[in-house]
Amino acid sequence: MQKLINFLRGSVRLEITGAFPERFLNLCAQRGVLFWGVEWREAGVLRITVAHRDAARAEALGERVLCQVARLSRRGVPSFLWRFRKRYAFLAGFAGSLLAVCILSSFILTVDVQGNETVSTAQILSELRRQGVRPGAYGPAIDEREAANRVLLQLPSLSWMAINLHGTRAEVLVREAVPKPEVVDERRLGDIVAEAPGILTHLEVESGQAMFQEGDTVVAGEVLISGTVRMDPPEYSGREPSWLEVRAMGRVYARTWRILTAEIPLEGMVKDYTGEAEHRWFVNLLGRRVNFYRNGGISFAKYDKISEVWTLTLPGGQRLPLALGRETLRAYETGGAELDAAAAQTLLEQRLEEALLAQVGDGQVVRTDCAAVRRDGMLTVTLTAECREEIGTFVPRSTPPLTNEKGP
């Protein structure tokens, strides 16, 4: 430990020559000049080691006791640094490096968003960038609280946000807002209407009067559950039945048949790459793109642009705002070619099934049949599907509710 301390503070080996070098030792001891490594060379010659900061004082004390003090060697960090005292370029670079570290560490290099689930990180980063929190921004100039409030105003799906600056990293913590539950306005009157034709398989009436029974066939637009409920008077009372206006509620399930059609030309235009290519390099630094090419015209009439970006990433996975990119422009010409009919049919069937699932929603597809027809250079695929799904949808009444006791 002592050696390490001596190395850090530096030491100088001195040779003292004089009639009475012991007096020099005594004087050093009295004046608080620490020394060690005393070596008696011969009569009148002594070598000691002193700390770097005490070397000048020791030399002055040597003159007082009529001894010659000569520096033999230097060791330690101060001596190491002392060697560079005349290397001005090195010192300027060193000072510049220190300055760069001190100043650049105040700039944001990465923005790390945490806590979001439904709101995309890109959306939050985009809004943060708009409010000045972005890679390359000067950290001390950012009012974190103000910026977070402004972002929250722009993103109502977030309920809370905190921006913490940790050196070059901006940590953004967010909490998402809980969506409002859907409230059914029961004062709004209306009916449950079929949105597709089908055969009813199940009715769940919560409010209103069912107009059909299970097994009935309905067409699109027919009222399945009416919001006008007939209220029969007591038997033998002689009074007319009354009508109660309510909001029809319930679920109606039915077997439905859907027919979807899609077509594609059997001859299409395909790309034929000519082999010519052009590369363009660029650097993206702190969100700013620097191109290493001139903005001249592109000599190809038709081309594909393929971008590849290599981002500088730290070992922990942290991505730095420095990326090298290359754009490759590949020239091509187009020409007609006949499509593979089987592949085209498979493609259309897949697309139709995807469209069918999107239409059915929570329902289920019981059976599907596909038929393909070639006509006039077109391939037409028709998908017929039997489904089980909920077909009831609420349709509010545009007319005011009835107030008399007559039938609708």
Binding site: A29, L34, V38, E39
Partner: protein, 83 residues
């Protein structure tokens, strides 16, 4: 002061500033209240103790550390003489 310390049975190094010498084994000598080194060599070191002179004899003697009040000598100490 030396006599007074002896009469009153007080530690002489505290009352009279007398040298205090502590030898650990035969390789280390620590001295307090010294008055400086009079002669220095690998075989013999003379230290002033005020009214007396302490002569440390031995081989490969080395003044390891020294300040205004204390010093430390290491080496193969053969004997200590007072004069």
């Amino acid at each position: 002061m030396e006599r007074t310390a002896e009469v009153f049975d007080l530690p002489g190094d505290l009352v009279a500033g007398l040298p205090r010498v502590e030898i650990t084994g035969c390789r280390e000598l620590r001295m307090e209240n010294h008055r400086g080194i009079l002669a220095y060599g690998e075989d013999e070191i003379h230290i002033s103790g005020g009214k007396m002179i302490l002569k440390v004899r031995g081989a490969h003697l080395e003044l390891k550390a020294m300040n205004a009040g204390e010093l430390l000598i290491t080496g193969e100490i053969a004997g200590v003489d007072f004069s």
